[in-house]
């Protein structure tokens, strides 16, 4: 405590310079309903989501803006849909790069190429490539523009949390600033302070998992040359530059290259510009001109906390769980955390939540984290086989994949993050729609469908509050409904002429009534409207004992 504030990284954008606030001069600490630690993509998305719901949120960040370096570059459909609901998805998608063609190499041979052929009928692509600072800037710009028009969110730069004390019904924080320390209180504290989470450390909470003994050199290079917008992945690249290499396109003529360079490396030596340039030239060709934009070395671990909340302190994003970079599951799962948490916090603060609602955040997002850790660990094991026999099978897959399509699904250079279905969540009501599609079973995130010249997802969920939704398809539902103090909006649709809507929401059923959570996940579904059943399901979905 009382250590001076130091920069841990360089800023790409200075967005919220330190300014002294009245809280610092009060004799008694000021109480805030929600304090968020960390102004990264997860903390800012949560603040935006809460602010839109009318919850006053204060973000404390020890820096004054967005960090430099591309870092997360792959954003999947689900987080983009979440941002769309928060009002800033289009900007992110417009700037991002969409690719469909991928090539897989083993040693010096191309073994096959694939086209992703995305499923039709979605507003957004399966994913985009975009440098993290852009992603953060679009969300932050949106938040700051709304703040000027009354969004109850405040971000304080150069405010570092040095101590946290859980008092049972609130949390007391000691915050360090350039003008010295001050004290704050929060009804709820949400730590979005990254994989090294200082808040987690202050509370002495564990972060267990597997350490992978490998490091990656990443280089962002700008090429004006006519290089294709494709994803290239090498197993055992011929340049001998490591176990794998990945080439990925980003906006602004920038390509991301990842070199897996092993565990025992001299970081300073590897990061020398001449050495980075040598590796890049070996990969893209000696005659290709390029400019080195950014480079870094990172290592990774797959681990998570045992629980994602402890008393009045809640953890989200990398602070709660950390995965390998394969499959783009870091920032993407962090945004799904905030999406899951925001409406629950709103109901808790409004006194409408049942006793089990906060616990469901742990259950649902631990389910998500386990899925992500499983998938990224499998990718890591395929890319870097851990035993001799594991390598024999890996090479057998690559060998077969060259000529046989059936073997290609075994090739694992990262499985792209798909949204988590909360199977087994205590908030779900057992499926009561015979013949209903698998993909919209209770717990699922609603899939998009084109509708009346727009898209279904733009009509589902609730960004501005924590209202639930009744979606009726080809069957009756009342125009209004509320139960347990929670309002529902009602959306009645006729599926005539909309095959995708039928396929994704009805399947073999003649009609359906869905109960949809504010985060667009299905809570329950039936063939017909049944007031008692809906009321009971709603109670369960807000964490009541029913």
């Amino acid at each position: 405590m009382n250590a001076p504030l130091v920069d841990r990284y360089t800023l790409a954008y200075r967005a919220y310079p330190y300014a002294r606030v009245p809280d610092q001069d009060r004799d008694t600490p000021v109480r805030h309903p929600v304090v968020i630690v960390g102004g990264g993509p997860v903390g800012v998305a949560l603040a935006l989501d809460l602010g839109l719901k009318g919850v006053r949120a204060l973000v404390l960040d020890d820096h004054e803006g967005i960090g430099m370096g591309s870092r997360a570059i792959c954003f999947a459909k689900r987080p983009l849909e979440i941002l769309d609901r928060l009002g800033c998805g289009d900007k992110v998608v417009e700037k991002g790069v969409v690719w469909n063609l991928g090539k897989v190499f083993h040693r010096d041979e191309k073994i096959y190429e694939f086209n992703l052929l995305p499923e039709e009928g979605h507003k957004y692509p399966a994913f985009i490539n975009l440098q993290q600072p852009y992603f953060e800037k679009f969300v932050l710009d949106h938040l700051q523009a709304l703040s000027e028009r009354g969004l109850p969110v405040e971000i304080r730069g150069r405010n570092r949390v040095d101590a946290v004390e859980d008092k049972g019904d609130h949390v007391v924080l000691t915050v360090m600033t350039p003008d010295g320390a001050y004290t704050l209180e929060a009804d709820w504290l949400v730590a979005c302070d990254g994989a090294a989470s200082p808040v987690r450390g202050m509370l002495g909470l564990g972060f267990e998992g597997e350490v992978f003994k490998d490091s990656f050199l990443i280089a962002d290079v700008r090429m004006k040359a006519d290089f294709p917008t494709e994803r290239w992945f090498w197993f055992d690249p011929p340049s001998g530059a490591g176990a794998s290499q990945l080439l990925h396109k980003q906006p602004d003529d920038v390509w991301r290259i990842d070199f897996q360079i092993g565990w025992d490396v001299d970081r300073a030596e590897e990061l020398k510009e001449a050495n980075v340039r040598r590796r890049v030239a070996q990969m893209i060709g000696e005659d290709v001109e390029f400019e080195l934009v950014w480079s870094s070395i990172y290592t990774f671990q797959c681990r998570r906390m045992t629980r994602f909340h402890q008393g009045r302190v809640i953890f989200a994003g990398d602070a709660a769980h950390q995965v390998s970079p394969f499959g783009a599951r870091g920032a993407n799962s962090g945004l799904q955390d905030t999406d899951n948490l925001a409406w629950k916090l709103k109901l808790i603060l409004d006194g409408k939540a049942g006793p089990r609602l906060l616990e469901s955040y742990d259950i649902e997002r631990i389910h998500g984290a386990n899925e992500n850790i499983l998938n990224s660990t499998r990718s890591t094991d395929f890319i870097t086989p851990k035993s001799e026999i594991s390598r024999v099978f890996r090479d057998a897959v690559l060998h077969l994949a060259q000529h046989h399509d059936f073997a290609r699904p075994f090739v694992n250079s990262g499985r792209l993050s798909v949204p988590c279905t909360y199977d087994g969540s205590p908030l779900n009501t057992p499926d009561a729609l015979p013949g209903g599609p698998e993909r919209t079973r209770p717990g699922s995130p609603c899939p998009d469908v084109p509708l009346d010249g727009g898209f279904l997802l733009n009509r589902l969920g609730d960004a501005k509050g924590a209202r639930f939704q009744i979606l009726s398809l080809d069957t009756d539902a009342p125009a209004q409904f509320s139960a347990h103090g929670v309002d529902c909006t009602v959306e009645r649709l006729d599926t005539t002429g909309n095959d995708l809507l039928r396929e994704r929401y009805l399947g073999a059923a003649p009609g359906a009534v869905y109960l949809i959570r504010p985060d667009q996940h299905v809570a329950a579904r039936w063939e017909h409207w049944d007031e008692r059943a809906v009321s009971e399901a709603l109670g369960r979905a807000i964490g009541m004992e029913v």
């Binding site: 024999v392 090479d395 059936f406 073997a407």
Partner: protein
């Protein structure tokens, strides 16, 4: 219910056994290991049933 066939199911075991040994003829240990691995993957795909594969793995592991 078990799905893996564990009763006699091949018309001529001697023939396929001889084919298996012949396929490995002249290969080094590494080449043989690679062939075995490819063979298992080909058969996995042919079986196409995770339960059968699971039962087979357990039986083989003893």
């Amino acid at each position: 219910m078990a799905k893996l066939i564990i009763t006699r199911n091949l018309p001529s075991p001697d023939d396929v056994y001889a084919q298996l040994i012949a396929a490995h003829e002249g290969l080094s240990k590494d080449e043989s290991d690679a062939l075995n691995a490819r063979l298992i993957l080909v058969l996995f795909n042919h079986i196409g049933d995770p339960q059968v594969i699971d039962e087979a793995l357990k039986l083989a592991r003893g």
